[in-house]
């Protein structure tokens, strides 16, 4: 009796062991499948950018390049050196940097201030202000194109990097405010009260007490804004052209305007160059991105 019970338990144990092993392998299989699905386009891009046109024509998408050939990268970045019609990314890359840095800075800063006021210096009707700001998150890009073009014209900054900085800053404020408001809501208001008794004013409390503990949400906001602004095509193509265009617009022009032959290797290299800055930001700050999104409360 005792023995048979024991052996049946042993059988159960064996069975669940096999089930576990099977499930584990199945899990890995699915994960690998999805990972390769997402990596595949990147692989094609990199491999193609390293091939010569000859190789591209003769091989398939997946064939490994015969030698590491960075010529197409050089062409994508610096052009071929002849005058008219030669579009390359370098000047537009700097355009984008000049646009994205101030736009991210100002929208983050204004968002932080607004979040601070909406949570720690409540005033009559603050809920409505927040509601209208939230509304800004849901306005589609296309809806503001015409009014914004008119505004930029009146201000005399259409077709300029400054104009794009303004557009992206204004459009980013609803999002950055939302981020910071939700973060500061979880910061105990007693901190602000204590600082007021200690004699700190509006700005001192913000800079000395709240901003130093805002690192997680600043990272989230910067990544969000950087990605949005860097990858934006619509605003860039609408409000700028020619020399003032940001990199995404230039990339488009480059790929579409190539005259005789489609140079896939140069196109791929350009696309990668245009995507690298966002990748760098993610790699450097991604760890904090997840942490900042999931955490909120500052336990003193």
């Amino acid at each position: 009796m005792q023995d048979s019970l024991q052996s049946s338990y042993r059988q159960l144990e064996q069975k669940s062991k096999y089930t576990n092993i099977f499930l584990r392998w199945f899990l890995y299989l699915v994960l690998i499948l999805f990972a390769s699905y997402f990596i595949f386009p990147l692989y094609v891009m990199i491999v193609t950018s390293l091939k010569t046109m000859e190789e591209i024509r003769q091989g398939t998408l997946l064939t490994w390049p015969s030698s590491l050939n960075f010529d197409s990268w050089a062409v994508a970045w610096g052009g071929r050196g002849y005058g008219a019609g030669d579009t390359f990314l370098k000047p537009y890359f700097w355009n984008s940097i000049k646009m994205v840095v101030p736009a991210v800075f100002f929208s983050t800063f204004i968002g932080a201030m607004a979040g601070y006021v909406l949570t720690k210096w409540r005033f009559k009707g603050d809920k409505w202000v927040f509601l209208f700001l939230l509304f800004g998150c849901f306005i589609p890009y296309q809806a503001i194109l015409l009014p914004m073009a008119r505004t930029l014209g009146v201000l005399g900054i259409s077709n300029s990097v400054i104009g794009l900085v303004l557009v992206h800053t204004v459009y980013g404020i609803p999002f950055t405010t939302l981020f910071f408001r939700n973060f500061y809501v979880s910061v105990p208001t007693e901190l602000v009260k204590a600082a007021r008794i200690d004699g700190a004013g509006f700005f001192k409390i913000f800079f000395k007490i709240l901003l130093p503990i805002s690192a997680p949400i600043i990272v989230v906001t910067v990544i969000w804004q950087f990605t949005q602004i860097w990858n934006d095509f619509l605003f860039g193509s609408t409000f700028s052209f020619g020399e003032a265009a940001p990199i995404q617009v230039a990339l488009n022009n480059m790929v579409l305007s190539s005259t005789s032959v489609k140079e896939y290797n140069v196109d791929m290299a350009s696309a990668i160059i245009a995507g690298i800055p966002t990748l760098i930001v993610y790699v450097l700050a991604g760890k904090y991105f997840i942490r900042g999104l999931t955490s909120g409360a500052v336990k003193g």
Partner: protein
């Protein structure tokens, strides 16, 4: 000169009246505890004293100066918060001297104060640490230190112990008491814990629904509650309130409980007014700890009640008796053997009785 005086103070948030015509005075060196259930307005009152909330009506005076419209930093007060509210990005030292730096105090003076206070509170080893590296008790101490370095006229405490565990709370309570004994600074202390209030306060103001119910010494609050709310709020378990009528014949006054014939003589009770006592509907208040199992004093009143329930809590037991369908709680040492569902002889200490008008619920 009163250190703190509050005059006809009213406060409302929208249409909710939080404080209604509060009047309060504190003499130099007193420890006033604002005690009440949550939502009674005690924290709002403290925030108003600190200047963190605006006033709708009335005035606040500190040392006879009307500070109603004065900024918190200029009121000469310091505050300790429930969540400690230590600045997370600064270390202990920076936390403690932040206020002094804002007030542009000289470097020597800051150093002197910091040394004095950190030694006094035994946080001088922790000065370089961040608040997140401190234990609850240490954070509490730093928060008190931050208040101390400013040498304020009045300390304000907003439920400073409620974030601590039970053991530490008792320890810190004693430390705050010691602190007050040594410094003799005026304190206003908000809590919902009656033990804290009783043990710390030289005066206790019990609040409910934005009104001060009684402002008195702990002894008077406990022995002579102003109304049934105070009687019920203070003490654990709270005072028995037995419904019944007074009976007056010639010079003898007695109490008869509802549904009972037994007359309890209360000749020695100090009535506020002696008229119209006959047939008055009253609550007869007696605390569980003033009901004895054995006759202790000559005047103790003997009564026989049925025991219904016994709750054993270690050092004592709480017994529930039936007094003609009204529940009576009594507290005995746990060494006494009791039997349930049995008529038991009990003794009421009639010198400790309180009587309340059944309609107004005020003490008579």
């Amino acid at each position: 000169m009163k250190t703190l005086k509050i005059e006809d103070l009213s406060k409302n948030f929208g249409s909710t009246e939080v404080l209604k015509k509060i009047n309060l005075e504190i003499d130099e060196g007193n420890f006033l505890v604002l005690l009440g259930p949550s939502g009674c307005g005690k924290s709002t009152l403290l925030n108003i004293i600190a200047g963190l909330e605006t006033i709708n009506e009335g005035n606040v005076f500190i040392d006879d100066y009307n500070v109603s419209k004065v900024e918190p930093k200029d009121r000469n007060i310091a505050m300790v918060f429930q969540s400690y509210a230590l600045y997370p990005s600064m270390n202990v030292k920076e936390n403690m001297i932040f206020g002094l730096k804002q007030a542009k105090t000289s470097k020597d003076k800051i150093k002197e104060q910091l040394e004095k206070v950190s030694k006094f509170l035994q946080v001088d080893q922790l000065l370089e640490r961040k608040p997140s590296q401190l234990s609850g008790g240490q954070r509490q101490r730093v928060a008190i230190g931050r208040a101390l370095v400013r040498e304020p006229r009045i300390f304000l405490f907003d439920e400073p112990l409620s974030n601590l565990d039970a053991k530490l709370r008792v320890e810190m309570r004693r430390e705050i008491k010691k602190l007050h004994q040594q410094l003799k600074t005026t304190v206003v202390y908000v809590t919902h814990d009656q033990t804290e209030a009783m043990s710390l306060g030289t005066k206790i103001a019990i609040m409910n629904h934005g009104v001060i119910q009684q402002n008195d010494t702990p002894e008077n609050i406990y022995n002579k509650p102003n109304n049934t709310f105070v009687a019920d709020f203070i003490g654990s378990p709270s005072m028995n309130l037995i419904k019944g009528k007074l009976k007056q014949s010639s010079n003898i006054i007695s109490f008869v409980a509802e549904g009972s014939n037994l007359e309890i003589p209360i000749d020695n009770y100090n009535f506020k007014a002696n008229d119209n006592l006959n047939n008055k509907e009253v609550f007869f208040g007696i605390r569980p700890e003033h009901i004895f199992f054995k006759k202790l004093n000559d005047n103790d009143f003997e009564i026989t009640l049925r025991a219904d329930l016994s709750e054993y809590i270690g050092h004592e037991q709480i017994m529930t008796f039936d007094y003609d369908n009204q529940e009576i709680l009594a507290k005995f040492p746990s060494t006494i053997k009791t039997e349930l569902s049995k008529e038991t002889k009990l003794y009421f200490d009639l010198t400790q009785v309180s009587l309340f008008d059944a309609k107004t619920e005020e003490r008579i």
